[in-house]
Structures are given as C-alpha cells and as structure tokens.
C-alpha cells in the first residue's frame, strides 16, 4: 500500500514539474503508438471494407485468419520482427532493429488484425443495410468502400481506440525489437519494466499512472473531437 501511495504522489509530482525525462518517454510512447495506429488503420480499414464488399476466393479464410490473429501473442510478433530486422535477417540491410521504426512495425503487426476484425464486423452490418440502395445507384467499388468507411466512422473510431489501447500498453514486443535504449527507444511500458527490475516500485508505479492517464486522455480527446464533428444530431 505504501508503494501505491508513494507511486501516486510521485506520478503527480513528475507530471506537475513536467519532468523532462518523463515528457521525453511519454512523447515517444505517443509518437510510436500513434504512428503504428495510423499505419495500421490505413491497412486495416480499407481491408475490412473490401472484405465486406467484394466476394473473392480467400475471403472467408482471411476473415477467419484475422479473427484468430486478434489474439496474436505480442512477444512472438516481437521475436519474428526481431529475426527479420536483425542484421543477419532478411531485412537486416535496412538497419532498423533497435529503432522506433522497428517498434512501429511490431505494434502495427499486432493491432492490424484487431482493428480489421472489429471494423469488419460493423462494416458488414452496415453493408447489409446499404446493399440494395448502393447496388441500385450503380455505385463503383471504391465509392462503396468510401461510403461504408465514412458512415461507420463511429464504430471505426472504437476499433482504432481498441488498437491504440493494445499498442500503447504493449511491452513484450517493443522490448525485444526496440531494446529499451535510453533516449532512443525507451517508452513508458519498457521504462516501467526497467524500474520494476531495479526494485524501484514507486517510480514504476508513477510511470504506470502516467501511462493510464495518457491512454485515458487520448481516448477522451478523440471522443470529444468526434462529438464536435457530429454536432447534436445523435
């Protein structure tokens, strides 16, 4: 109990004083995860819409695969990305191992199936609703996808937030591919693991509270942005 109280006070103190190291790793956490989220959404959302709209041979297989991969163990993703990006691996020449880019790659791989699956569920429902109308209007496939993505944006936002939550709290994969290098690849989760390892539970907890606060703040601000855009129609 003493540790928890100590951690909370320390967290408040670190945040109030804008501790430069805390600011640095928090911004890096945000940068890595938001980049991964952006990349993952650009892949997952059109993929989800395409899977709803187009009938092709491997469609059912891909949907089943995405559902299965939702539970992808991050540590395995980390290991695979590590082996691929290592200097002695197939993409070693890029020299990406132990850089934020490698962490973005790992997080993207982890959250694409999650976002695509959740998004596909809601887009499929919307497509069932819109099907007759859009077919009647002779809408092209690209227009269909754009319409479906736009009109299910609320559900897609939820899918994206789920992806964000999973990515920002992830430690196993980014520890492996990022290496937790101070001032280069240290983010909130890996710093927490490090401080726990040093037995400094107070600081570890403080960082944990900052992580939670950050996740909540991003969630709230995105919801808030969504609401102002929609006006009072809902």
């Amino acid at each position: 109990m003493v540790d928890i109280w100590n951690g909370m006070t320390q967290a408040v103190w670190l945040m109030l004083t804008l501790d430069p190291e805390l600011v640095e790793i928090s911004l890096r956490s945000l940068r890595v995860t938001l980049s991964a989220l952006l990349v993952a959404c650009t892949i997952a959302l059109p993929l989800a819409a395409l899977l709803a709209v187009r009938r092709f041979r491997w469609r059912r297989g891909i949907i089943a695969l995405l559902n299965a991969l939702m539970g992808l163990p991050p540590v395995v993703v980390g290991l695979v990305v590590y082996v691929i990006l290592s200097r002695s691996g197939p993409l070693g020449v890029l020299g990406l191992l132990f850089t934020p880019t490698a962490m973005i790659v790992a997080q993207t791989v982890i959250i694409v199936p999650l976002i695509a699956s959740v998004a596909h569920q809601s887009i499929r429902e919307l497509w069932a609703e819109y099907h007759d109308l859009l077919i009647s209007m002779n809408v092209s496939e690209t227009q269909k996808i754009r319409t479906l993505l736009w009109d299910s944006r609320r559900a897609l936002l939820t899918a994206a937030l789920a992806g964000f939550g999973r990515a920002i709290g992830e430690v196993g994969a980014i520890m492996i591919v990022g290496g937790n290098i101070d001032h280069a690849t240290r983010v909130l989760t890996t710093a927490i693991a490090l401080e726990t390892g040093k037995g400094d539970f107070g600081l570890a907890l403080a960082l944990g509270f900052v992580l939670i606060a950050l996740a909540v703040a991003v969630n709230l601000s995105i919801h808030w942005l969504g609401r102002t855009e929609r006006g009072d129609r809902w």
Binding site: L30, R31, V93, G179, D182, G197, G199, G226
Partner: protein, 268 residues
C-alpha cells in the same frame, strides 16, 4: 481525424534530439544497474560528440547481438563466452576495462550461516547443506555463469537441486525482487545490490573472495563479418575507455560511499 493523428505524430517526431555520431553497444544488466553508465555516457557525449546507445541485456544475448551484427561493440563479463566469441571470429579483440565483484545476499538472520565463511565455495556449500531458499538468475547471463562455475567448484551440481533452488530466468533486478519476496539467498554483483531499491529483509552476507571478482571487457564487432559496423567510432570509444579520463570517472564512482569498480585497463 487522421490528419490530427498525423499532426500529433509529427510534433512528437520533431522532439527527438540527435548527436553527431551514434553507435550501439550491448551491455549487461549488472553494468547498467550499477548506474555507472549514467556517469560515463554524458561525458562520452561531451568529449567525443558520440551518442552511445545501450542495449541492456544478459551476457548471452549481448554475445548473440554481437554475432548477428546488431550492435557495434559489446561490454560483458564472462571470460569463457568471450573467448568462444573471439574464437568464432565475431570480434576483433578483447580489451579489459575494469572489474567489480559479486556478493552473496541473503536473509539478514542468515539461516545457512555463511557470514564469516572463508571462501565463496564454503558459503555455497553451507547454503546447499542447509537447503536454504536460493534464487538463481537462470538466464545464461554472466552472473548466472559465474554462479554455476562456483557450484561446480564446490563439487555440487545445480541441476540436481531440490525445491529450495529457484532458477527465475530473469535479469538481476527482477531476480533480486524475487529473492526479496522469498527471503532467499542470491548471488548478485555489488553494484546492482547497492542500487536496488526493494531490499526488504535482505542483507549483504559474504564478499571478498578473489574468485568473485568480475572482469569487464570491451569487444568490438568484427567489421569483416559485418561491414556496416562503425569501426571508427568503436575505436574512438575504446581509446576513451582506457584513458586516464575514464580511470578517474570509474574509480571515483561511488554509491553510499562505496567504490564499485576498479579500473584495470592496460594492467594485464
């Protein structure tokens, strides 16, 4: 919405600073936990305009990173592993920099009675015969290798131990946490112990046997195997690490008034 996310990402991207030169070095957890890195790295940055990015891992993984060419140099402390590494042609040479020592930590009431033993081997024999709870790193690290070496010297086989022997497969800090939770004996490097924040009922019980000395060596990655290695920076760092400037900083580094490392580059 995406535009906002992109904007936030770009703002965050703009905040990372860069030194003129950057190299990667794999070091052991025990070295990093000592806090010495936080003293040396800023000075290296100041003197050489070189940012040394540390990958903090166990000796086993540090060696692997060097073999794969994922770092430019390694700083480790496990002689047999280092020799095998050099024999494999992965490194160019081995330079001894400094040493610290291992210590035995255990419950302050010392149920196995190792306090005052005359050697490290005797201490281990006491622990084994009392079957007092013992935590082992179990992660193929330098510290773990040292521990196994000592058991062998004591004529005991760690693989045949009973429930009292706990191989946790974790870094030094995590292993110390476990020992604190179980109130168990553990072999630790002195620096990690002194810097450890969660000591609970543990205390330093035995130290001083020369067999417990822990030699750190610097091993550059062989550029013939991995042409992308930044040999020039690696050499620059080595020259700095064996210099008098490094000697002053390393010998002067203290925690709670105790000197942790002894600089011995160029002595042997």
């Amino acid at each position: 919405m995406k535009r906002i996310l992109l904007g936030a990402a770009l703002i965050a991207a703009a905040t990372t600073a860069q030194a003129a030169d950057v190299m990667k070095m794999a070091v052991t957890t025990s070295f990093n936990n000592s806090g010495l890195a936080e003293v040396l790295l800023p000075e290296i940055l100041k003197d050489l305009d070189l940012e040394v990015q540390l990958l903090v891992v166990g000796t086993g993984q540090a060696i692997k990173l060097g073999e794969a060419g994922d770092v430019d140099a390694i700083l480790v402390h496990s002689r047999p592993a280092e020799d095998a590494y050099l024999a494999g042609g992965y490194g160019t040479h081995r330079t001894e920099i400094m040493y610290n020592d291992f210590v035995f930590i255990g419950p302050s009431d010392d149920p196995a009675g190792i306090k005052g033993d005359d050697s490290a081997v005797a201490a281990l024999q006491d622990i084994a015969s009392a079957e007092a709870a013992f935590v082992s790193r179990g992660d193929d690290s330098g510290t773990h290798k040292k521990e196994l070496e000592l058991w062998t010297e004591a004529g005991l086989d760690a693989a045949g131990f009973g429930d009292w022997y706990n191989a946790v497969g974790a870094g030094m800090g995590a292993a110390l946490n476990t020992a604190a939770g179980m109130n168990a004996y553990i072999l630790s490097d002195r620096a990690s112990w002194l810097n450890f924040g969660n000591k609970a009922d543990l205390a330093l019980l035995y130290s001083g046997d020369p067999v417990l000395f822990n030699q750190y060596a610097y091993l550059p990655v062989n550029p013939e195997k991995h042409p992308h290695v930044q040999s020039e920076l690696v050499d620059k760092l080595e020259a700095w690490l064996v210099s008098d400037r490094a000697k002053t900083l390393i010998d002067g580094y203290q925690i709670n008034g105790e000197q942790l490392f002894v600089f011995n580059a160029g002595v042997n």
